[in-house]
Amino acid sequence: MASESSNSTARNTASTGSTSTTKASAGTALTLTVNGVNRTITVANTSMPLLWALRDLLGLTGTKYGCGIEICGACTVLVNNQPEKSCDMDVGSAVGKSIMTIEGLAADVDGQKAQAAWVASQVPQCGYCQSGMLMAAVGAMKAGHHGTSIMSEMSNLCACGTYQRIRKAVSSL
């Protein structure tokens, strides 16, 4: 269950770029601010969804692909503290904004609280939807919601059906 280090991620990005030099040089360089760090990527098309830039170019695989059509919420990230479905946000439009992903949650006060509540309530089963769930919950907290009103802000889907525990987890937030 080891996670890839950010080093291997960077290596991956670099080598992907070098195996398709013509493409990289024909692409557009963008700087994204993710979890407080500026990261520069080269994309062939700025309309590529932010989801895939995070996952495939920045190696931040905690953000998940579930549907690609803004239904499931697995890809939820915070953009300027607002929950956004990254499968439907052009990477180009994320430039200059502050993006927070699941990997940044441990450095955020609300994020830490939400993570602790998720562990205390033993929420995840397979866990695949839970990055999106947590980001949606933290987004609701940042918008001033508390307790079960967080749940009504969350439309994310969970195929494992962990909703009862999510309800319990957010009730303490």
Binding site: S3, G66, G68, Q115, G127
Partner: protein, 739 residues
């Protein structure tokens, strides 16, 4: 996975299967070859191997950390936690010292030498199959550690005992008088000892078994660190996606040129058959999905397209119900000339997609032969069948290739991730990209449109009950359904035990009774979906039970009790009456009950719901559940499985179905294949009847079958018998929009 409702009879472990090795860093590794449970009767007919050379290892590190290699796949059911609890108890170690990971799939671990089925995770068998061997390995490791201490001190092992330090770091030590050495300190000496006889298990009272210890996999699942197959990242990796023939059974006739920006275009398909898809390799998954959509492909349309149409399939099912040739699954004193049945009803169920939250994916790095080094095929996959995955890769690679499989975490499986289609495609793409790691990801649309679906079914039940004692006096059930076994080569004239599971083996005393199966010949591919045949048959049987109760004016629970014989099933139902406050639903609500016995467990559920008078929408408030799954390993894991099954069960009752128009799947994303959202989740209260003296029962699937009939029964009670829903889902056209 397979309809392994059959009990896993005891797994015997022999001494020659007991292995000891030194671990890196001065640790001890103890392994057991785990003969898969000797499944009897029907399960054998489904080609489950009687034995494979699966080996699991427990490592005792010099740092006093215990690592348990889990032979089953973690897909959210908690197998890593449950098996580790059993190991920790036998080793007498504190929970904080235990780590779990998937066992590697390679020759050392027996994986690559196993049969094509090899290890699998399904049939709610995980803990039942693997715990005897792991438990024995742990007991043997404990004996070796004690022996190592005894040798060091020149005392008899019987002069030694174990203590667990009551403060951090909670290590376990062997002590004798004033002498004391921790497991970690003894590990390397223990690794030099020759294995002796197996140590009897269960010599200590349970400390962790039976307790709701926290799951080992959860911490990484709230930080993004948990690595699913789709998250595999390798240096220099490129990305692929696939597009399949739009019509089920279609094949590639001609392909256009490689799209601009793509790195490769690869035809994929069954070994030895025509290609049924094209994969595109590109710089990102997004580029690959977009390019796969843009490739121009001429597809052949199979002649089956017209028949593989939901309207045609339903019409054909009705014809087969009336005039098909049945196979008798159960004949219990059936005689002709019985009185006309008091109740006769036909129930209909749709095809279901698995809709695993993590779409199908697999990563392959193929390194060609170099000098004397044979070709190497490395596969990273979220799979319920790691040995089958290794076999799939080996069959595609040049003879003599080394195959290595890494089984990642699964973003849910539900039976879909036992199949090999996505593995095969990834290997085919990997072989076309020698030296370059490629991650193949199916788009969600391809995932929905190319599933191996839970079969549709039409089930007719005709029965009578007598009002004096509430006894069923005749029962006939005919099921028309495609057969997973027949589609995979089994005889069409034999009973498919998975297709009649829950119908031919109800918990009721049924005599005279006749249960028949008629094969539906639609060629939409069908596969194992959580609880398999029980997901179909329990809906029909338990709906009919309520219709029968009503026909003689009996309370549904009393009527069921009058027809049961198994005391464990009766105890579940009696407990359920109390738990659900049966007979006292909230204002404007009704209750419905359903029970099932399967996977070695007993289950009863009561759903309480209301129906909006204007919109007709169903709100399920509460699902009370009583379960007896024998010996309890971790009550909280059981509760989680039931809660989740209720959520999935409600969605199958109200919304979920896959339909086809001339062979083309119609639900291709979650907007038209609706799961419930958090706002629709009822309160699920679970009472577990612990039976620590009974065998471990399955829990992954048994939560599913009762949900739909409990809801249908409550619905009919609320709105009247004439409003009863006999066809699933209740709301077939329902969609979800973004929210």
């Amino acid at each position: 996975m397979g309809a392994m409702n059959n009990e896993a009879s005891e797994v015997s472990v022999t001494r020659r299967d007991f292995l000891v090795r030194a671990a890196a860093g001065g640790g001890l590794m103890v392994g057991m070859q785990l003969p898969l449970a000797r499944l009897t009767g029907e399960a054998l007919a489904q080609s489950v191997p009687v034995q494979s050379s699966v080996t699991a290892w427990i490592t005792v590190g010099s740092d006093d950390l215990i690592t348990v290699q889990i032979p089953g796949s973690e897909m959210g059911q908690g197998i890593m936690t449950g098996l580790s609890q059993i190991v920790a108890d036998e080793l007498r170690v504190d929970w904080s010292r235990v780590r779990a990971r998937h066992a590697p799939v390679d020759a050392v671990h027996g994986g690559a030498n196993a049969s094509a089925w090899g290890r699998f995770t399904g049939g709610s068998l995980g803990i039942r199959l693997f715990s005897p061997g792991l438990r024995q390995a742990a007991a043997n490791a404990r004996t070796l550690l004690i022996q190592a201490a005894a040798n060091t001190w020149s005392v008899s092992p019987s002069a030694c005992s174990l203590v667990v330090s009551p403060t951090a770091p909670f290590v376990t030590s062997v002590v004798s008088g004033a002498k004391k050495l921790s497991y970690g300190a003894l590990a390397s000496a223990a690794a030099q000892l020759a294995p002796g006889a197996n140590t009897p298990v269960g010599q200590y009272p349970a400390a962790l078994v039976g307790a709701s210890v926290p799951r080992v996999d959860i911490p990484d699942k709230v930080t993004g660190a948990a690595q699913f197959g789709i998250d595999v990242t390798l240096p220099g990796m490129v990305f692929a996606s696939v597009r399949h023939a739009p019509v089920v059974g279609g094949t590639v006739s001609a392909v256009g040129t490689k799209p601009a920006g793509a790195l490769a275009l690869v035809k994929v398909g069954p070994v030895g058959g025509p290609s049924n898809g094209v994969a595109v390799v590109a710089a990102t998954t997004w580029d690959a999905i977009s390019a796969a959509r843009s490739v121009s492909v001429n597809w052949t349309t199979p002649t089956s397209a017209a028949a593989n149409d939901s309207v045609a399939i339903a019409a054909r099912a009705a014809v087969l119900m009336a005039s098909g040739t049945p196979v008798v699954a159960l004949n219990n004193n059936w005689v002709s000339g019985l009185p006309t049945p008091a109740v006769s009803a036909t129930y209909a169920l749709p095809y279901l997609a698995h809709a695993t939250m993590e779409p199908l994916n697999c990563t392959v790095r193929y390194t060609p032969a170099s000098g004397a080094t044979p070709p190497l095929c490395e596969v990273w996959a979220p799979t319920q069948g790691p040995d089958a995955t290794a076999a799939t890769a080996a069959a595609l690679c040049p003879a003599g290739s080394t195959v290595r499989v890494v089984n990642t975490l699964l973003g849910s499986g539900f039976g879909r991730k036992y199949e090999q289609d996505y593995i095969r495609e990834a290997v085919q793409v990997g072989l076309a990209m020698p030296g370059v790691p490629v991650k193949l990801t199916w788009s969600r649309e391809e995932d929905f449109a190319n599933d191996q679906y839970r079969p549709m079914a039409l089930s007719f039940i005709a029965a009578t009950a007598e009002p004096a004692h509430g006894r069923i006096t005749q029962w006939r059930n005919r099921i028309v359904t495609p057969s997973i076994a027949v589609q995979r080569g089994a005889s069409a004239t034999a009973v498919d035990s998975s297709a009649v599971d829950g119908a031919a083996n109800t918990p009721y005393r049924l005599s005279p009774a006749l249960i028949e199966q008629v094969l539906h010949d639609a060629t939409i591919p069908v596969g194992y979906w959580r609880s398999v045949g029980m997901s179909i048959n329990t809906f029909a049987v338990e709906s009919a039970m309520d219709e029968l109760a009503l026909s003689i004016g009996w309370d549904p629970i009393q009527f069921r009790l009058a027809n049961l014989t198994d005391t464990r099933m009766m105890a579940v139902l009696n407990a359920l009456k109390t738990l659900s406050a049966w007979g006292a639903p909230g204002k404007g609500r009704a209750q419905g009950v359903a029970i099932a016995a399967g996977f070695g467990s007993y289950m009863g559920q009561v759903a309480e719901l209301s129906v909006n008078a204007t919109t007709g929408a169903v709100s399920v408030y509460r699902v009370s559940t009583v379960v007896d799954c024998g010996m309890v390993i971790n009550p909280d894991l059981i509760r989680a499985q039931i809660e989740g099954a209720v959520a999935q069960g409600i969605a199958t009752t109200l919304y979920m179905q896959q339909t086809f128009v001339k062979g083309v799947a119609q639900a291709t994303n979650f907007n038209r294949y609706r799961l419930i959202r958090g706002s629709e989740m009822p309160v699920v209260d679970v009472q577990i009847i612990a039976g620590q003296g009974n065998p471990i029962g399955g829990i992954g699937e048994v939560g599913i079958p009762c949900v739909a009939p409990a809801i249908a029964n409550a619905y009919a009670r609320l709105l009247g018998a004439s409003a009863r829903k006999r066809s699933l889902p209740f709301f077939p056209g329902s969609t979800l929009s973004d929210g």
